[in-house]
Symmetry: C5
Subunit: 84 residues, 5 copies
């Protein structure tokens, strides 16, 4: 799993049907890398979260038919990013 | 999932049979890394999209026998890449 | 598998139910990259461990329904990180 | 999937039985990273190819019992690597 | 698959039961990144090997219940690392 900060919710014009109804969020690592994850938790912009990848991501989204490789698993209460 | 920009459609001289009939597109991350994805959406060059990896990529392509590890999941309406 | 050093236990405010009861630890690679892993071993901060990823991570956590993509597999007795 | 250039065929002294009879090729990304892939296509040194990873790689090699995580999926006709 | 050089065998103080009886080796890429793999081949320090990742790694270790995401697949006879 990785630690990322929630940046924004994505607005999609065309999308596959089996993405389900969860919001897709853009998240950023401490080093600035951007990922997209399904959010079954209801996170807010700025929250530090951890994400679950690959086959566990589909179960984490609540239905293993959902088309995701990354899902938010929880909000971290006390994360202090490294000073740089 | 990751956010990439569509660059071009690939033309293949030799290819495996179980790649199916979807176009293969070269896509580029904001940092310039190149990936290849199946495109069931019908994206155009310059579109910002998100991609789905690994086992979910096969379902996203519409048939889990298809030989893909990366499939376009949707077009992002409002993505602003970082200024650098 | 990768070699990481245990940094701290994570405290979560919101989390998915199927994360089970194992602690989630933040771990750091020699090059400073941070990951989160389930810890069925009972590691202490500062321990050097190796981690198991993806489908084997779920079995390593003791139940393949658990939502993890990274699990601690053991404590390394004699690891000398590179001098830099 | 990724785009790589074929560098050389590997000669192995000890190897597992379930690697099958396909040649193993060393391939290089545009940024110089080296990977090894099974080659069911019959590529030549210098060809630009795309590779398929993980579970789809095993099907791409022709038999899902084969021990591979990366298989050549096709030769790209018109790939122009970035000038650097 | 990736090409790595065998560095040392790991000595573990605490470990999961389903790691089986194969030695765990620390291996290094040409660029200095360290990984841990199960070794069913019997490699020696300094050997250049290729490694198999994820689900195929479990079959490569000889039993798909084994907890590994990386297994040595063979020793490369003629690998010349890049001069740097």
């Amino acid at each position: 799993m990785q630690i990322l900060q929630v940046k924004q919710q994505l607005v999609l014009t065309s999308r596959l049907n089996d993405l389900g109804h969860l919001p897709l969020k853009a998240l950023v690592t401490e080093s600035g890398e951007v990922f997209v994850a399904m959010d079954p938790i209801g996170t807010k912009t700025g929250d530090w979260v951890f994400t679950i990848a690959n086959s566990a991501a589909r179960d984490a989204a609540g239905d293993k038919r959902l088309l995701t490789d990354l899902t938010v698993g929880g909000i971290i209460d006390d994360w202090q990013p490294e000073q740089k």
